[in-house]
């Protein structure tokens, strides 16, 4: 096992090991749990950072790989490793961990021991999803993840916590089970063709398997696609499978919302990128109009519904539906811009939306209400809070200098290249995005302040501490996203080729553009009319309707020879 692989496994399993250690600490030592959990999360994050530097950006292969046999007769291996796409999400997870732990200090008032242990278990199971290279292992992590989340909501949640927790659990489970069926279908199909039992993701994505699936009946392919699609679409969540999300968010404790929005939702989009597109590209293309329609509806619908929410958490939850719809569009664009944009949107959403949930959590801790109408004028008493909330809002609605801009612009530019009309419609969702977020901000932060709210304290040191990393990342991505783009460059290119094998075969325009750049403003000068084409065009100030016809008329002979 290479050193980097060890590091990766250590960072992944450290939380759960720490959780086991905490089992031996007596229940009433609240501070120990708080501090130890943060320390473990931070340690896991610090262990994960070197991989950012160790990652070879010039390769699209799975790196830090480690494989050992687990159940040889079934072809199950303990196989881990990451490419750029998984690495970014994995790092996002280790990054979010300390924040989630730190924000729980103030609002978890009972059963600390269980709470912090579940948090740590959750962390490991999420990290595991991103490093696994084996379908069986993947499915285990994928399902295990639900258990701690279920308890976090069901025990430390709001008034309707049981309803929300059960809904979350059953809804996502129902999708996952379909995915399991799909996995088995491919597994046995492979066995039939090769005589081998193999659960490795590499074999699932291999050209033979993809071809094998493509040679099956259309019904089979579509069913397979739908099974994967449903599993991931529920997790994302895409319209109309999203209704578990607002309930889960509203009922979950702040840390639950942070993790839910920051990481858990990315599992769905990650699933699309990792499994649906590379394994069943043909089936996906077959159903693409439907998928696009759902993603697009999600963008606009989520924004519209968010607009009239009275509960801040619900508003942010619906904004997630909208943002992730955009993310899905980027993925379905099936070109590098769209995919990179989608990856960015995952990261950005993982920064700004947790930020917003944290912000809501802060006022909730102080006043125990999340209703927009209960607030107003908070900028006056909580200036630091207002500034941070503003930054997170702007990051969320995609304003320049911050991260959201990069993701949104890239997705829309990418989507436009493949699906122009869809991109046009999605861009209108951006307008709505500004409307609902700023409207909420205005009602909460601006205007006259009521008596109760004047007593609210501004952020304390701990609270500033967990916002700071979010802000740093938001500004970093906004100003200089290139390191992130580089790390995902090759894997995205590979992915694009898996979906569109001919994509990179077109003629490169680089030389032409370099030539044109040299011409620069000299291109503005009129040439001395060497070509017939130039004659026909009227001078600038007199250009009008006839012009088009003239150039057309002259173009015809030009095209002839």
């Amino acid at each position: 096992m290479s050193g980097t692989a060890q590091l990766m496994l250590l960072a992944t399993f450290l939380p759960i090991l720490g959780g086991l250690g905490l089992l031996f600490v007596p229940n009433e030592k609240r501070e120990v749990f708080q501090k130890a959990t943060v320390a473990i999360m931070v340690a896991s994050f610090l262990l994960s950072v070197p991989l950012w530097f160790q990652y070879n950006r010039g390769s699209d292969a799975v790196q830090f790989a480690y494989v050992c046999d687990w159940m040889p007769s079934l072809g199950v291996k303990f196989s881990v490793g990451m490419d750029g796409i998984s690495l970014l999400l994995w790092l996002l997870t280790t990054f979010t961990g300390p924040i989630a732990a730190l924000c729980s200090w103030g609002n978890i008032e009972e059963r600390w021991k269980e709470y912090y242990i579940w948090l740590l278990v959750l962390q490991t199971s999420m990290l595991g999803v991103f490093i696994t290279q084996d379908m069986f292992l993947f499915y285990i992590f994928w399902e295990v993840m639900l258990v701690p989340m279920y308890f976090l909501i069901a025990i430390w949640g709001g008034p309707q916590k049981l309803y929300a927790a059960i809904k979350l659990f059953l809804y996502t489970l129902s999708g996952s089970v379909l995915m399991l069926v799909a996995i088995f279908a491919i597994y046995f199909l492979q066995h039939k063709a090769t005589g081998q039992y193999d659960f490795s993701i590499a074999s699932f994505q291999s050209a033979q398997t993809v071809q094998l699936i493509a040679s099956q009946t259309k019904t089979f392919q579509i069913l397979l696609t739908l099974a994967f699609f449903l599993a991931f679409a529920i997790k994302v969540p895409m319209f109309p499978f999203h209704t578990w999300l607002p309930d889960a968010h509203v009922q979950a404790p702040t840390a639950g919302s942070v993790i839910l929005a920051g990481i858990l939702l990315k599992m769905g989009t990650y699933g699309f990128v990792r499994f649906l597109l590379p394994i069943v590209p043909e089936g996906t293309k077959e159903l693409m109009p439907w998928f696009l329609a759902l993603a697009l509806i999600g963008v606009v619908y989520g924004a519209l519904v968010a607009m009239i929410q009275k509960d801040m958490k619900k508003l942010v939850a619906y904004s997630s539906v909208s943002h992730l719809g955009l993310c899905m569009l980027g993925i379905f664009a099936m070109n590098p811009w769209g995919m990179k944009g989608a990856m960015f949107q995952m990261l950005n959403h993982g920064v700004s939306t947790p930020g917003l949930f944290l912000a809501v959590g802060i006022v909730y801790e102080r006043r125990h209400t999340r209703m927009i109408a209960d607030y107003g004028g908070l900028s006056k008493t909580m200036p630091i809070y207002a500034t941070i909330f503003m930054l997170m809002t702007m990051s969320s609605i995609g304003l320049p200098l911050l991260n959201g801009f990069i993701g949104e612009a890239t997705i829309l530019m990418g989507t436009f290249q493949t699906w122009p009309w869809v991109a046009v419609a999605a861009t209108s969702g951006i307008i709505l995005g500004a409307a609902y977020m700023l409207w909420m901000f205005q009602r909460v932060m601006f205007g006259p302040i009521s008596e109760v709210n004047t007593k609210m304290a501004d952020l304390n040191f701990r609270e500033i501490a967990y916002f700071t990393p979010l802000i740093i990342v938001a500004v970093w991505i906004g100003l200089y996203p290139k390191p992130f783009m580089d790390i995902m460059d090759k894997p995205v290119a590979k992915l694009v080729m898996q979906v569109q094998p001919d994509f990179y075969k077109a003629e490169s325009l680089a030389a032409k553009q370099a030539e044109a750049a040299k011409v620069g403003m000299h291109g503005m000068e009129a040439q001395e009319a060497p070509e017939t084409k130039e004659h026909g065009t009227a001078p600038a100030e007199h250009a009008s309707e006839p012009k088009a016809e003239v150039s057309e008329a002259h173009a015809a002979p030009g095209g002839g020879h």
Partner: protein, 754 residues
């Protein structure tokens, strides 16, 4: 990887400082301003950064001057911003990266001078105007936002590619939002900020689609590359994108029209102009800097920057001309009946922006851009002057409560007077030359037989010019002439109860604010004034503002006077310096400068007509408002045509229309979707759950009643059956004997009798 700029441009290592100095100013003030003891430090940082950046701009400008005309371009690539790894565009695969890069050429130099120069003067003005905020801890915030705005605006004009422009484009929108809503504790300011932002976003929507199309066409967003490519592109016989084949003109028209939607938003054109008048809720320096001199001209800059597309997009150009003319006229009429001094100027700005678009629409890019500069000078002067007036009148904005200020505020009066002459189009002030040039270019198109459309637009422009001259003199008359009406002396009953005073006053009057007034100094008289702000009878009249306020105003006035000479038309013996300056960046369709110009004699006739026209409008206003201090003629007009007045005063109910037709329905639709979400979609989910539970109960019942019932039924049957047999086994001998006898009898009966 394509280098952003090739041989056609000179590199520079310090160009980045121009935009980034104000950014550093923003960071320093924004992060430390709260803790600074003295707001003088804030001043030094804010003004210093913009000032140095202005000096740098001038330095680079002189460098440009020294270069040969055809290669006046300086650039700096800072870092690769987007590296997206390949896009399938027209003609193949483009792997171009998008750089964080700046480009300083003739056009951006002119804009940068405007932004930093006007920015500096307005920052200076703000140090006086915002003096009341110095003590309540938000002064640093204001200055930081202003610096951030300058940074964004410089990104917009200095950016070397469309995405950099878009960065600035969105950035100025944010700053505008923050600054309009600066007095956020008042609802209307916060609402106005949001409105501005959202309306701008509607425009951005078009802008984005437009540049997406350009990416498809050019495979690149870098200006140099696009300029180098455009001629080949337009020579193509047909362009096929997304399976649709059409002429290059079609694609240029399409993208140019989309981009123009962005310009409509940012530069406040019909139908997206409504945010600008509301934006006056912000502090007056903001109105001057953002909503008159710089940000609102970014649409103009964008079109001029991309003129190589617009020139080849006749439909889009006609659209620009039409929208510009309509806006010029309608906004000018709305300005006729406003009483809030800033609102008049706001509508005037919208109208003047319309004029600029008319120029562009007529293909006269340099004329349109030139009006940007002259307008920046006189409108900044007017806005800042109005700011001085507002401060002097204790934050009164209703002109009916002003009057007679020329005696007490000579500097302000003189400056605003000059600016009024400039905007009204009186020669030789700058506005005359720039506006006349635009109208002339539009007229020329008509004269050259390109349709009555141009005549109609020209006519609208002339009417707008008339209104402009009228409302400006009206504004001057109401503010500076007659007697001061604020102090209770109101012989003609012109004042109105000062509700504006509290409703749309620029400065916060909340509790935390009162102590700001107790400091001696600039607003010493404002302090005691605060207590009786309803004031029927406070006794100090207005006075001239301090130097740091009137000096910038005066400088702008001087510029408003002289700027016109930079672009004297040849017909007046001028050299058209400005036009020559930007010409290398304007797309020349053909080498021969063909196109028969209309005779100079017509130009002279029109010029003379324009002068008479403007003077008669001013005369009319003079006759109505100055020679008749009771304004009886104006009142008579209102009485005669109440409906006209009502519509104009209510700005044609456009806001109400939007509220009723778009915003209201959108909210309603959201509400409907929400109930759909709640009842139908989530209902399905919950329904599925309920169905499962019901099924479970049914199964339970089935299990209990049917399945188990069957089992129990068998048992019961056996039990029941066995009951009869049980009776037989009573255990009594008599019974058994009795049965035996019965059996014996039965047997005997059967044997012997049958």
């Amino acid at each position: 990887m394509v280098e952003a700029a090739g041989a056609a441009s000179t590199g520079s290592g310090i160009l980045w400082l121009i935009p980034f100095l104000p950014f550093f100013g923003f960071l320093i003030n924004g992060l430390t301003g709260r803790r600074l003891k003295s707001t003088k430090v804030v001043d030094a940082i804010a003004l210093g950064s913009v000032g140095i950046s202005f000096l740098l701009t001038v330095y680079f400008f002189f460098q440009l001057l020294a270069m040969p005309e055809g290669s006046r371009s300086i650039h700096q690539n800072l870092w690769t911003w987007f590296d997206l790894g390949g896009a399938r565009v027209l003609g193949g695969l483009s792997t171009a990266t998008i750089k964080w890069a700046y480009k300083f050429d003739a056009l951006s130099a002119a804009m940068a001078i405007l932004v930093t120069g006007a920015g500096f003067l307005i920052h200076l003005f703000s140090t006086g105007y915002m003096a009341e905020e110095r003590n309540d801890g938000r002064y640093y915030r204001f200055m930081a936002y202003m610096n951030l705005f300058v940074f964004s605006m410089l990104n917009l004009v200095l950016g070397a590619n469309i995405l950099m422009m878009f960065l600035g484009w969105e950035g100025v929108g944010v700053c505008s939002y923050l600054l309009i809503g600066f007095y956020f504790d008042r609802e209307y300011a916060a609402v106005a900020g949001k409105k501005a932002f959202v309306f701008n976003r509607v425009g951005d929507f078009g802008f984005m689609i437009g540049f997406f199309l350009l990416i498809m066409l050019f495979g690149n967003v870098d200006y140099d590359t696009m300029m180098g490519m455009v001629r080949n592109l337009s020579a193509a016989p047909a362009i096929t994108l997304f399976g649709h084949t059409a002429t290059p003109t079609f694609w240029f028209n399409l993208s140019a029209s989309c981009l123009f939607v962005g310009a409509m938003g940012k530069s406040a054109q019909i139908p997206l102009y409504v945010w600008l008048p509301d934006a006056m809720a912000g502090p007056t320096p903001v109105s001057a800097l953002i909503h008159a001199a710089t940000m609102v001209t970014s649409g103009l800059y964008m079109i001029t920057r991309l003129n190589f597309i617009y020139v080849q997009a006749p439909f889009a150009l006609s659209l620009v001309l039409l929208v510009g003319s309509l806006t010029a006229l309608f906004a000018a009429t709305m300005g006729l009946a406003q009483y809030d001094i800033k609102k008049v100027l706001a509508y005037s700005t919208v109208s003047q922006l319309g004029f600029m678009f008319m120029g562009l629409g007529a293909g006269a890019f340099s004329a349109g851009m030139f009006h940007v500069f002259t307008h920046a000078a006189f409108k900044a002067c007017l806005f800042l002057g109005s700011g001085s007036v507002i401060v002097a009148c204790h934050h009164e904005q209703d002109m009916r409560n002003m009057g007679g200020l020329r005696k007490v505020m000579p500097w302000t009066f003189a400056s605003m007077g000059l600016a009024t002459l400039a905007i009204a189009g009186v020669p030789p002030f700058s506005g005359f030359f720039s506006k006349d040039e635009i109208l002339w270019k539009v007229f020329e198109h008509g004269w050259n037989g390109q349709g009555t459309f141009y005549y109609v637009c020209w006519g609208m422009g002339m009417l707008a010019a008339f209104c402009t001259a009228f409302y400006m003199v009206r504004l001057m008359a109401m503010t500076f002439f007659g007697e001061y009406r604020g102090a209770g002396s109101d012989p003609y009953g012109l004042t109105v109860p000062s509700e504006v005073h509290h409703a749309s006053d620029d400065h916060a009057l909340d509790d935390g604010h009162a102590d700001a007034h107790t400091n001696p100094g600039l607003h010493a008289h404002a302090a005691d004034d605060l207590t009786d702000h309803g004031h029927a009878g406070h006794n100090h009249g207005p006075a001239e503002v301090p130097w740091n306020m009137w000096v910038p105003v005066f400088i702008f006035a001087v510029l408003a006077v002289v700027l016109g000479f930079l672009n004297l038309p040849p017909s007046l013996g001028g050299l058209e310096h400005f036009s020559k300056w930007v010409e290398p960046l304007l797309y020349q369709v053909s080498a021969v400068h063909a196109g028969h110009h209309a005779a100079e004699s017509i130009e002279y006739i029109l010029m003379g007509f324009a002068i008479v026209w403007a003077l008669s409008a001013m005369g009319l206003a003079w006759w109505m408002y100055i020679s008749d201090p009771s304004w009886s003629k104006a009142k008579a007009f209102v009485a005669r045509f109440p409906q006209v007045y009502e519509w104009v005063n209510a700005k044609y109910y456009v806001d109400e229309f939007y509220e009723a037709m778009i915003i209201g329905p959108a909210k309603q639709f959201s509400a409907q979707l929400w109930s759909l979400d709640n009842w139908v979609i989530d209902g399905t989910v919950n329904g599925a759950a309920r169905f499962t539970v019901t099924m479970a109960k049914a199964s339970d019942w089935f299990d209990a009643k049917v399945v188990d019932g069957l089992v129990n039924a068998v048992a019961w049957g056996l039990q029941q059956g066995s009951l009869g047999f049980r009776a037989l086994q009573s255990g009594k001998v008599q019974n058994y004997a009795f049965v035996m006898i019965l059996g014996f009898l039965a047997f005997a009966f059967w044997k012997f009798l049958a």
